[in-house]
Point group: C2
């Protein structure tokens, strides 16, 4: 079926730039591969019973080329040509979920040349590559249609691996439509953090801050790009509990980012004093983390290795801790021994895009330049990105300082680092459990642009904001 391109579009948000962008993305892919591609959007996952599902999230690879989150839908890409496969809504679906746009109308919206029911898919599957879906029901369907086992891309057969690499090369660098979405996500996330800071002095429990922040995303018809971390126990890196009471001497670490309806994410962390004023010890360590944050961002430009930015963060943190008397020795030598990682055990950041850890469903294919692999060094093993920066890449910069009992009380580490840590001095900083400062930074042709710059980072500015 040929669809006339003069049919009206249904939704003004899908204006010409998106359809044109989708065409360009498909063409870029076609320039890199010479085999057909099937991409599945995926299906809702059941929560406690089949009809009570988690909010549907379409596959990011599908969203990149199709633009709209259509459930249980497949697109076929072949030489720049797009074919849409989906079933029309039933009468019962219309009762419960309202009228759905027709397949033919959706095909026009996304620039598909043909559109068929899913039953036709198998006859268009010969020789096609794909990317493994996240939900098991869709993976089964993929296996059935392609008549082979579907593995995660980084363990996959040659065609699927070639496809994954081609998609990585596209999605690493964001086009203007993607950037517009990423800036929308960043702006709403900035508002969410501002809202959280403003209610901080009145809040009694972490969950109250979380509610105020996530409500900003919900009110803008966005979702959270990941489970928010809103905690006075900042040393638990992925703390996803919110029941701790907030008391005046605490630091509140808030790591929260919104995701637009089209799936594009933001990722911001701020650490704020509940009382509105950092204590002198909190301020000292905050300034160490901020110095690392600022130095890393200042270094961002095309050609720079992200691994060097991570090592710069390690260096600045080591210097700062030496200056405070917490570490002993030469900062260079301390970083070489991974002593910084006692307090900064994670990587300085990651790719950001349709996924908050962009393309992490492909393992390290996106994060690591071909031929590079994760280090087994304590201070590098959690680095998620090891590539030279290129214009259009969006990365997070998120150094931190944490007192993690599982690290600092580990007998082996206490022996290894016995003489480089001044434990008595460290004990004076017991009112700091965890500090992280995270922004989203776009690599431009000549340097960088901080998409989340509207949110203060300086200690005084944060204090002023809480007081406002």
């Amino acid at each position: 079926m040929q669809i006339s391109s003069t049919q009206p579009t249904l939704d003004n948000s899908l204006s010409q730039p998106l359809a044109e962008t989708l065409r360009q993305r498909r063409q870029c892919l076609a320039n890199q591969i010479d085999f057909p591609v099937l991409l599945w959007s995926g299906r809702s996952s059941p929560r406690n019973f089949p009809a009570n599902v988690y909010p549907f999230r379409a596959s990011s690879h599908f969203l990149y080329f199709a633009g709209i989150a259509l459930e249980n839908t497949v697109i076929r890409l072949d030489g720049g040509k797009l074919t849409l496969f989906m079933d029309e809504g039933t009468a019962a679906a219309a009762l419960w979920h309202g009228d759905m746009p027709k397949r033919a109308e959706l095909a026009v919206q996304i620039g598909a040349e043909e559109a068929f029911p899913l039953a036709e898919l198998k006859s268009y599957a010969e020789g096609a590559a794909t990317i493994a879906a996240q939900d098991a029901a869709t993976r089964l369907q993929q296996s059935h249609v392609l008549n082979r086992i579907i593995l995660p891309a980084n363990q996959s057969q040659s065609l699927d691996l070639s496809l994954a690499k081609a998609i990585v090369s596209l999605r690493l660098r964001h086009d203007p439509v993607a950037l517009a979405e990423l800036k929308k996500a960043a702006a709403v996330s900035v508002t969410a953090h501002q809202t959280g800071m403003q209610i901080l002095p009145k809040a009694r429990v972490e969950s109250e801050i979380r509610a105020a922040m996530e409500a900003v995303a919900i009110a803008h018809n966005m979702t959270c790009a990941y489970r928010s971390i809103i905690t006075v126990q900042g040393e638990v890196l992925h703390n996803d509990q919110y029941h701790h009471p907030i008391t005046s001497g605490d630091l509140l670490l808030a790591d929260m980012g919104a995701e637009t309806e089209a799936g594009w994410a933001a990722d911001i962390t701020r650490t704020s004093p509940v009382s509105g004023q950092f204590s002198p010890t909190q301020r000292d360590l905050y300034d160490v983390v901020l110095a690392a944050h600022d130095a890393c961002i200042a270094k961002i430009q095309p050609g720079v290795e992200y691994r060097e930015i991570h090592l710069l963060a390690a260096q600045v943190i080591a210097e700062g801790l030496v200056n405070l008397g917490i570490l002993r020795g030469q900062p260079d030598a301390l970083v070489e021994r991974d002593a910084h990682a006692l307090f900064f055990p994670h990587g300085v950041g990651h790719l950001l895009g349709l996924d908050v850890h962009d393309m992490e469903d492909l393992g390290d294919l996106a994060g690591y330049e071909t031929g590079r692999h994760r280090s087994d060094r304590f201070g590098l093993g959690y680095l998620r990105l090891d590539r030279p920066l290129r214009p259009g890449m969006l990365v997070t910069i998120e150094p931190g300082f944490y007192q993690v009992p599982a690290i600092l009380q580990d007998p082996e580490r206490r022996t290894t680092y016995a003489e480089v840590v001044n434990w008595d001095r460290l004990a004076q900083f017991s009112d700091v459990r965890g500090i992280r400062i995270e922004d989203d930074v776009l690599v431009t042709e000549t340097g960088y642009e901080v998409l989340t710059a509207a949110l203060p980072t300086q200690a005084e500015a944060i204090e002023a904001f809480i007081a406002s």
Copy 2:
């Protein structure tokens, strides 16, 4: 391993009544079956990449007997004896997620007599029944451990079916600990609805109301028991979009309920005039729905058939629409012809408990008395509950009136009901798209208790609340 019951518990919220209640629940189960049972809590479902998961929701059957939402955990029930199977957290998990309670400590909390790692599970699986988990990874593990295919309970083999029926008989009637949780969920949901009503005159988009309401649940460290329906298009029964602008003549239908940390749900709907004042036509139809709501609740007592309550709602709605001149004929005859279902196409409610449609993962095993099945009548097919009421049962009462184009524009239905609908008169009510009023009603020994009674239902009371 025997665990002394003198070990301290970790969490004060798990006080003696819960542990004792869990013991009683296990004993009640043991009184009904003579085979061992394995219940899996389930695993997190991936969202867009494996590490970015949806919030974990433990299986309701697991929660009923274990009380705590432990991921990737199995309990074995045998003659009232509880055995816990789970793996201890790794060192890496402690870094990212903090210290987890030890298996032995958790065993004490929930009253388990023995506790083992998951690797031991297979040797305790002989002859055990189970309930199919919702997530595919866990279902695979169930098949592997039990060495057989695991089907949904209503299609399952005799042992699993016997287990499901025994669990239904327990979970149909809520014990005091369950009721305390259900009342907590109801109270927070009432506050959420009050908050939504109060900001209604200022809101511009549905999503702003949703944000304010869901924030109340989040602030109380609860989740939403289901996807909220917050819409000016109330005729779309499960509308889960929130982008429509709110204008002064609209009715806003808000169907939202909170779920406690232990998994117990509430489910409330209110329909409110955005302007703060119902129009005369909105008021007329609102009062018809409210009359049905009030009549149904007044009829609740042990021994009454829920199906009769549904038919009472149909009768009161038919009477009301005849009085307004929208339907023509005798209400009894109209209900017999399913004419009410043109405007009230769903059932009057359902079971409520750990699931918002309680135990719907078991198909109709919980909702339908043994030997009864869904009707194919237009006016009864969506009825989710067909049992005599018993003390301790919690049900929703949620009659509604909707103008659904897929129903009212259907040529076949327009022919069937040509002479009973006054289409010209109906056209005068075009400012009503959907109205629903829903409360959570406990069947007591002598009658009923409305758990959500603190939220107004009368039109004047809603108007007064919005103005407040």
